[in-house]
């Protein structure tokens, strides 16, 4: 059973990054193929702080997350002015650059030989608590005025600008939050696997996260959670058919894009309110002819 706990932990860790990208892509409408880079920053920073500077592990996580967020703002400042395709490409370029920089600074990070023996600190409870905190925090953010502004950016950016919303500011906020969450995710990953290698955070990782968000659907956190729980454990469940995993991934991506772009749960959420509505009796049709202009009551 310990093994499956491990699978849950990995899913939960990835979920944090996926939630972040859900905010960025699902709610603010910006696609990114570079969030793996932010995970890398969080991972390596927290690992190195813990190993080289003896920083207590949880503090290392926080520092990793903050660093990732900070770097994202630096990058975001020029990059967010780009439109459409160009921005996506820039994120791709950025993600790869980070990975390459890590790979090339082997004195610091071990480079392509990996960084082993990272101190531990993650267990299923830590992950669950952090996941819940992230979900609650994001729900509140999305429900707030700031969240609605982000959605406005997604829906119709030019109109949003016209109404006076500083779109660049909100894009930057979304970017910083998603990058910070990705950084936290990376830091947790480092403490869990206790071994880091630049290939863990390359284009494959970035794509995996973005695909999870798309699969889950835009504008929904529930979708992101569902997608994470489906996609991340999949390679373990399908260990026998390991090689087909990637083909399956690609197939899912294509099918979703073509057939159901709104994903599993697009624009909808599982909420307590929704659950209550589920349990109420079905609306009954008006019975028989209407007498004196009154409808029969339900």
């Amino acid at each position: 059973m310990e093994y499956w706990t491990g699978v849950l932990v990995i899913s939960g860790i990835n979920l944090i990054a996926i939630l972040g990208v859900a905010l960025f892509t699902g709610f603010t409408g910006l696609f990114s193929f570079g969030h793996g880079g932010f995970m890398a920053i969080g991972a390596y920073a927290s690992a190195l702080f813990a190993i080289r500077a003896g920083v207590p592990v949880p503090l290392g996580w926080a520092m990793g997350a903050v660093l990732a967020g900070a770097v994202s703002v630096l990058i975001g400042y020029p990059a967010l002015r780009l439109r459409g395709d160009y921005f996506v490409i820039a994120t791709l370029g950025f993600g790869e650059t980070i990975r390459l920089l890590v790979e090339n600074s082997h004195k610091l990070t071990g480079g392509a030989r990996g960084l082993p023996d990272i101190p531990p600190g993650v267990n299923i409870w830590v992950v669950l608590v952090l996941d819940l905190m992230a979900i609650i925090a994001l729900r509140n953010f999305i429900g707030s005025r700031h969240g609605r502004n982000c959605v406005a950016v997604r829906e119709e950016e030019t109109a949003a600008e016209t109404v006076g919303i500083d779109t660049t500011r909100y894009k930057t906020i979304a970017l910083a939050i998603s990058a910070g969450l990705a950084g936290l995710s990376g830091a947790l990953m480092a403490s869990w696997i206790r071994y880091l290698h630049p290939s863990m955070f390359g284009l494959n990782k970035s794509t995996e996260i973005t695909i999870a968000v798309i699969l889950g659907g835009q504008g929904t956190l529930t979708g992101a959670v569902l997608a994470a729980m489906l996609l991340i454990p999949l390679p373990e469940v399908l260990r026998m058919a390991q090689e087909w995993r990637l083909v399956a991934y690609g197939l899912i991506v294509v099918l979703i894009s073509v057939l159901r772009p709104e994903g599993l749960f697009g624009y909808r959420e599982i909420t307590f309110e929704g659950f209550r509505r589920l349990c109420r009796r079905p609306p009954s049709p008006p019975s028989g002819p209407v007498l004196n202009g009154e409808e029969a009551s339900p």
């Binding site: 696609f31 780009l82 490409i89 197939l251 073509v258």
Partner: protein, 289 residues
């Protein structure tokens, strides 16, 4: 130093073949076709099997690669991109679908054909040509020659034929071209056919130079950077960007550090996008209100 320039040009010509395909699709449909890499890889494998199983003739293999590439290209256009385009899907879903196709293709190859490389039987002589102080591989001359011919033919098609006129019109505005009587569906197919053919061509040359292996398509990322560098939407730009990138990369490798070469390329990409998104020769893209 001269040799390094030659090295750079040799890499550049391969990039150029692939970059033109990217630029073509972009100029017409305004999105980046990430499935391009798969066609290149497929071309390389098709050529390999033709050479080993059918007939060890370069010309035949070349044809096979080009035809195969074109057909594959059209296939995924019809299956994946067309439904999206019809629905008026967001560009970004097209990009993602392209990535998906690329993943499927690469891993199908690994599964069905095997992850190890396939070495081509020797086609071109190994002995390089000595031109002054410089060594030039025969295969590189072939690549430059064939690419130039292909691009020339392509240029002629664009500027002299009706189809070419239609393409140019559609590149300006697909919808209006449709109003003018251009069958935009057929046009899109034509464009993908051409792009696929060029990709297949790139594939066989890559296979000759580097053997056929499943991750061959990853090199198209460099071609993509070339296209961006030269200006997405401009075909001469793609070619220029490709050669420029090839030479720059080689120089970075030679005079700074070989391991930093890719960092440089990606940084270049990012910098170009930040400061001159239209690249060397492209048209600036702004969104109209």
């Amino acid at each position: 130093m001269l040799q390094q320039i030659v090295n750079g040009l040799s890499i550049g010509s391969v990039y150029a073949l692939m970059a033109v395909g990217y630029s073509l699709v972009y100029s017409l449909l305004n999105f980046t076709n990430f499935a391009h890499g798969v066609v290149v890889t497929a071309g390389a494998y098709l050529a390999f099997f033709t050479l080993t199983l059918v007939r060890p003739s370069f010309a035949v293999a070349l044809l096979a690669a080009m035809v195969g590439g074109g057909l594959l290209s059209i296939t995924y256009e019809i299956l994946a991109y067309r439904p999206l385009l019809i629905k008026g899907g967001r560009r970004l879903f097209l990009i993602i679908a392209g990535l998906g196709i690329s993943t499927i293709g690469e891993n199908l190859i690994i599964l069905r054909i095997g992850g190890r490389f396939k070495a081509y039987p020797p086609i071109f002589p190994m002995e390089p040509l000595h031109v002054g102080p410089v060594e030039i591989a025969v295969v590189d001359i072939m690549i430059v020659a064939v690419s130039l011919i292909a691009l020339l033919i392509f240029q002629l098609i664009i500027s002299r034929t009706r189809a070419g006129l239609a393409i140019r019109a559609a590149a300006h505005n697909l919808a209006t071209a449709g109003l003018m009587g251009v069958n935009s569906d057929a046009l899109v197919i034509l464009v993908f056919l051409i792009a696929g053919t060029l990709a297949g061509l790139a594939g066989i040359f890559l296979g000759v130079k580097y053997t056929a292996y499943p991750q061959l398509g990853a090199m198209t990322l460099k071609a993509f950077i070339s296209a961006v560098f030269g200006g997405l939407g401009s075909l001469p730009g793609a070619v220029a960007g490709a050669y420029a990138l090839g030479i720059l990369e080689t120089f970075v490798s030679a005079y700074i550090s070989s391991s930093m070469r890719d960092v440089f390329s990606f940084l270049l990409l990012v910098l170009v996008l930040l400061f001159r998104p239209q690249g060397l020769m492209g048209r600036p893209s702004g969104e109209k209100a």
